[in-house]
Symmetry: D2
């Protein structure tokens, strides 16, 4: 049995299916389309039924991937276009009405760099609930947003899902946006790809330590997940490389010290996580509050 | 009307009462005793009735102050004795039985140095609930402890008290220990005094921005507060100095730009907050888990 | 003898002189002018001779103060105007020619928040010497800039001045720009005022711990100092308040525990130091490299 | 041509030689011995001549490796034994006399976690030169130690070697100890192995970006390097795995997106770098100052 390739991206799950399935088979129960959005490549995958779920090993729903390639090339308006692209893809998945309130959840461990996308995004996301409720004359046009960093089981003793469940019961948000680090199969996608989906998330996937799920079923509220791959599992990298060079798989039992918990990551992961987290936070702020611009967010968060 | 001197310490509230009351009056409704504990000066103040409440402007209950003077002199066993002293004073106020579970709450803003005692203590406090529940064969002798940093209203949109209320409903702890920064009247007490009380706390007192209370009434669970003064209000400092030098008060309207929100703090506040937070966390760990030593905590938290 | 009021700002030294001198005396040896620069109030003080030196207790030279009041009011273009104002005031004091190289020195202790202006500014300042020398085809139009954080005596065992002297001998810069935290007399100036002078600096003034000087005499190269007040000495605050309310001074011997090393600082000092440091770094970058814009710096430093 | 396996450890260079050389060949010009030191495995490799240099691709000199395996198993006295073992191996390589002064250099980028061993060690190393010189009555029995973090070329514009050269000319230390992150070939050695050698170092090896050397030849002073592997080069990992499973090499041109600059590192790299840096700093402190104990260092650095 070959080493199981690990990815949290629907777009890569589809690639893996295509590689393993007989050439003539058609992927049924899955609809995919490629588009351009503010200059970025976007792939929109819909898993429509049980067959699609089994094929891609993901629950039914919509998975949108934005490839922020221009960020890496440091093009001048790359940040602004990235914010617009994520906003445009996020809005229909959120499907909110005027007065809806939102809980933004930063998942992951801020003390582990490749796991810090959630906490780092939360830090730049505007919390407005208290302003809307106490100073409506100035903030009445904002949406009520609460922001939480759940921490991780090892330092809190509470599953993130349990903690969010408690906050949902108390604050009754209409939507949850959960931000987390993911694992991808390809190194080129690290900190350059954002996946947005309407099926929730199991925190900790990115660092190979999945926990209880946050989704509509467990929380009673729609959960939109925003994820960024920050690592490639070392085993996945090796398997891929072997295949591409036409070699056989290495059976897991021969992995020895090369396996368990090792990750591949770029040297500049600290900066890259900081940059992409800021971009996502700006996109959330501009999505959640009508008419807010990047300059407004600069003023309100600095 | 003179500038109101600001303190969160019962021991200082009593001093202020003594200074303002006629010499012959006796402070009624308040019982105080001085003792030594592991070489440190301890003052134990009990507010017994409504009269005592009015005199000291604090709710009925017990307030214990440990003066960790030896820490400043860097005596060799100062840390270990401090841990023992806080443990010994904390235990009777907690009044726990064998199977009680505890929620430790780190209040305050970790991005503002003098407000970071709560978050910094939480970081060093062992979370054990998940270990006790999932690996009872190894951790059965530990108490179930959950740990949370609530963040502050401005960055979460949620009052700390509301968030704790939500967690209490979900996790049903038998006791809450809330750790926060306080304001004292005397500079000599900064980061050298620990106040433990059984009457709960209003988060943010230390930085002059008090919020909804965490106490037995609001949460339905006994709340033990552990506080450390990290600042002196600039106005309080000036008033005290004037009085001691036999001068009149400065009326608040003459304060102009010297008042509002200015704090007095030692230059080394970053290190001092880090040091005292670690000491409190070690004391909590040794209090909450029978037989745990400082060396054990070193091993488990490093 | 009254408590000596402490300030590192020439503009405040002049105010103190005016308060203590007989009304009819004229301040001789000092020239001062007020101007507007990109909407900000600028004061330009020149100490012309020994008499001026004695009166203001500062060496002969030019001291320019920019009051960045609009930053506090969060006006939209406050940052861009601040960068332009500092650039415009800094350029003539630097008096550079095309090929001059510059050493930027961040003084102070990055582990002590109110002392971190220097290190924090250095972090955002572009180092370009290696690029100009090794990739002249792309970076030939940049000036050669080296950047160093000297650390502090307590953690390096070396005086900052000695370390800079060593680097000057090795790298032979034509100009030195030294950035440090200062002490002011007025709370309203904290993190809102930038002083630029051509007389060098004694590091550590801001936190009351002055060390060997960095100036043209000790280093053999013109030293332009850029300073920001981050604290008010607690004693200075009290003296000022007493005077303004018509009371006598408190003699230093009565200060007791209120004096030694205590500082007054705003609660938000962490954010304020981060913000002003970024502004100064951007101003340095735009001053040192012809034609560089804020957007360029965003691209090059993020 | 196979992918060149990358390692900075002499002990691994010897393993690689043994794997590639014909079975009957003897490694000439290299002497190696295995010993135990405070319970840890120590390997002492001496490169004696040009032949040895060519075989292991390292300059003549002594390379000692301490394998701190017990740290990973969290044995109780692992830290204290590690400090003793490193001290015992370091002392003869330093070969100091009573009055020698020492410059400790922390190489690497503190903003990149796996490159932060040098800066992080420097932070915990006691600087004593100023104390010995100014307060000899209290510190006369200490050695004069200066400590510097050089930063990296990209943020300073100066090669670390140039900066150290400048400091050597100014402060005239008798010995230099340079601490840096390294790359190893085996994941099991990450943050568990310390290599001490008397041949100096090229900074940045650990993150694949080697710079001008710091050694006796370039600086005129003996340079002892202390290095810790924090990463495995992704290509090296794959090559090794292929070989062990009996497969052919993958030619570099087939690597595509899997190569350039990617590293393999444990998820817990942040904590592991912090822990090993502290251990090395404590070992340096106990080595440089006669009679200093771990408890003394605790008191002096906290």
């Amino acid at each position: 049995m070959p080493y199981t390739k690990r990815t949290d991206l629907a777009v890569e799950a589809r690639e893996l299916w295509a590689e393993s399935a007989p050439k003539t088979t058609k992927l049924s129960g899955v609809k995919a389309e490629d588009l351009k959005c503010h200059g970025y490549d976007v792939t929109r995958i819909q898993i429509l039924d049980r067959e699609g779920e089994r094929a891609l090993d993901k629950p039914q729903g919509t998975y949108v991937t934005v490839e922020l390639s221009a960020l890496a090339r440091r093009e001048e308006d790359a940040f602004a276009r990235g914010v617009s692209a994520i906003r445009e893809q996020l809005l229909p998945l959120l499907g909110m009405v005027r007065d809806d309130s939102v809980l933004v959840v930063g998942l992951g461990n801020r003390a582990i760099t490749p796991d810090a996308v959630g906490p780092s995004t939360a830090k730049h996301t505007l919390a407005t609930r208290h302003l809307v409720e106490h100073v409506p004359e100035h903030f009445g046009h904002f949406r009520r947003v609460t922001v939480v960093q759940t921490g991780v089981l090892g330092t809190t003793g509470m599953e993130s899902a349990e903690m969010v469940k408690a906050l949902v019961a108390q604050f009754r948000p209409n939507r949850i946006i959960a931000v987390d680090a993911l694992a991808s199969r390809k190194l080129t996608r690290i900190c350059r790809t954002v996946q947005i989906c309407d099926t929730g998330i199991a925190p900790g996937s990115g660092v190979g330590n999945a926990r209880a799920k946050l989704d509509r079923e467990t929380l009673g509220v729609p959960v939109i997940a925003v994820g960024v791959p920050t690592v490639v599992d070392a085993g996945t990298l090796v398997s891929d490389l072997l295949e591409e060079s036409g070699r056989d798989m290495v059976p897991p039992e021969q992995w020895g010290p090369y396996g368990g918990g090792m990750i591949v990551t770029p040297k500049e992961i600290d900066t890259q996580v900081a940059d992409i987290s800021k971009l996502i936070a700006y996109a959330l702020n501009c999505t959640l509050h009508d008419g807010l611009t990047i300059e407004d967010v600069d003023m309100l968060t600095s």
